[in-house]
Subunit: 115 residues, 2 copies
């Protein structure tokens, strides 16, 4: 596994036979995205995190930035915009679970929020 920080990576093309992250890799990568939880939806693991906003249009602005990043990485999350918060979920549809790409994209999402 590439030992660079997640935020310094780009998502690589994910093929249908790409490997899911192993439990050991999750242990190594998860501390870099501490606010994210790993959830299970229909037996498919996802990374999910909610981000708070005092103003609705600030939330929308965050959605736009995350979506632009997603498009540039060619990896697209579920983004839920509501009053007061935005919830982002990353997973890899093709392999029905978590790929390292998802951890990279989660770290980049955190970075957008921090800015």
């Amino acid at each position: 596994m590439n030992s660079k920080k997640l935020i310094e990576n780009s998502c690589e093309a994910c093929h249908i036979d790409a490997p899911l992250v192993t439990d050991q890799e999750i242990i190594e990568l998860k501390p870099q995205i501490p606010a994210w939880e790993i959830i299970d939806v229909n037996n498919i693991k996802r990374l999910r995190c909610s981000f708070a906003f005092n103003a609705y249009l600030e939330g929308l602005n965050f959605v736009s930035k995350v979506a632009a990043m997603a498009e540039s990485e060619d990896h697209h999350p579920e983004i839920i915009l509501e009053w007061g918060k935005v919830t982002v979920s990353w997973w890899s549809h093709k392999i029905k679970g978590l790929h390292k790409n998802d951890f990279i994209a989660a770290a980049k999402t955190d970075s957008i929020y921090s800015d």
Copy 2:
């Protein structure tokens, strides 16, 4: 009930003691928003509709327009942006169900998609 078309109305301030739409009102209003389904989430009715997009950033553009409308109406839906589609749900949090505002907002959402 105001007999104007939904699209010609604006959302009115919704108070905690505002009335839920009656079954009769639903029968009258629903034909104006035929693509929307009425779903039940934790015993709270919502109007929900998914809109298809061939390009991710077109979906994002639709999210931005619906969010701008929501802000101007001071009534905020749940908007889910994914690759290929955007799903919008309208309900009235304060009264835990559907108010006429939600039908008005759904009609305006359809109008944004049609444009």
